[in-house]
């Protein structure tokens, strides 16, 4: 009897606990942005841009965020493209991002961007997002030779935890 107790105790102590799979945390956002831009010939207002995107986190590293999305320039000229950002949650409400973005139509434009986003909670799963973004375009068929376009944008919109 004593031997059986020892075996049962050993089995229980070595029994594998239920493995918990990584959980993916999804979010989606829609924003609009505009600002100023330049490239050596003065300052202009940027094209107004609309973006829809999704962000993905893993619960084991909830402060690291990957964001991907589509963007559309809507006025005064139109254009379509996308972006890929890495984000780092600095605070409960502040996320800093850096990544690449591209305009693919009607002509190409490739560049890098960095931004800071403040998330103002409206409810448990919905936030207002607001913050500046700095973009640089340095490649593409839409860029005159020797020109680097910089943009300082202010973007605002909504984000939802899915």
């Amino acid at each position: 009897m004593k031997r059986l107790l020892v075996i049962a105790t050993a089995l229980l102590s070595t029994a594998p606990t239920a493995a918990r799979a990584q959980e993916y945390l999804l979010g989606a956002d829609a924003t609009a942005s505009s600002g100023i831009e330049g490239g050596g010939t003065g300052f202009f207002r940027t094209r107004t841009r609309l973006q829809i995107g999704a962000d993905l986190r893993v619960d084991e590293w909830p402060d690291d965020v990957m964001e991907v999305g589509l963007l559309a320039e809507v006025e005064p000229r139109s254009g379509f493209g996308g972006y890929l950002h890495y984000g780092r949650v600095l605070d409960k409400h502040i996320v800093v991002t850096a990544g690449v973005l591209a305009i693919l139509a009607p002509a190409s434009l490739y560049g890098a961007c960095a931004g800071l986003t403040y998330r103002l909670p409206l409810s448990k799963h919905v936030q207002v997002v607001l913050g500046p973004e700095l973009d640089f375009y340095f490649l593409g068929s839409d860029l005159p030779d020797g020109t680097v376009i910089w943009q300082v944008r202010v973007q605002g919109g909504f984000r939802v935890d899915l």
Binding site: S34, G42, A107, L109, L120, L143, P144, T147, G156
Partner: protein
């Protein structure tokens, strides 16, 4: 914290963007090729007619071959250049003047005539 104080930064940002909307590039200022109307190209920050290799350009070697876009009269980009004695040509020294006043491009054209 009141709702007004929480929304103040956002309202300020929206106001700034709205104010900036009034200093956008005019129809002849550009940073990208697609800033210009079809048929024009972007050179030195201005929308210009693309250079054409023709006999007229050989007769006038002082002209750069780029003529700033005029408004309305799309049918006479090359012929007007020969009579303008280079006044409409784009020089790099004047590029710093693209600061929003270009929204009234017809003013330059009127003086050229």
């Amino acid at each position: 914290m009141s709702i007004f104080s929480r929304w103040a930064p956002g309202a300020t940002a929206v106001g700034l963007v709205t104010a900036l909307a009034h200093c956008g590039p005019g129809p002849t200022a550009c940073l990208r090729y697609t800033d210009c109307d079809p048929g024009l190209t972007c050179a030195y920050g201005h929308c210009v007619y693309p250079p054409v290799a023709s006999d007229a350009s050989l007769d006038a070697p002082a002209s750069s071959g780029l003529s700033e876009a005029s408004t309305g009269d799309d049918s006479a980009p090359a012929s007007d250049d020969s009579g303008a004695s280079g006044d409409d040509s784009i020089s790099t020294g004047d590029d710093s003047s693209a600061s929003g006043d270009d929204s009234t491009p017809s003013g330059d054209d009127a003086s050229a005539e």
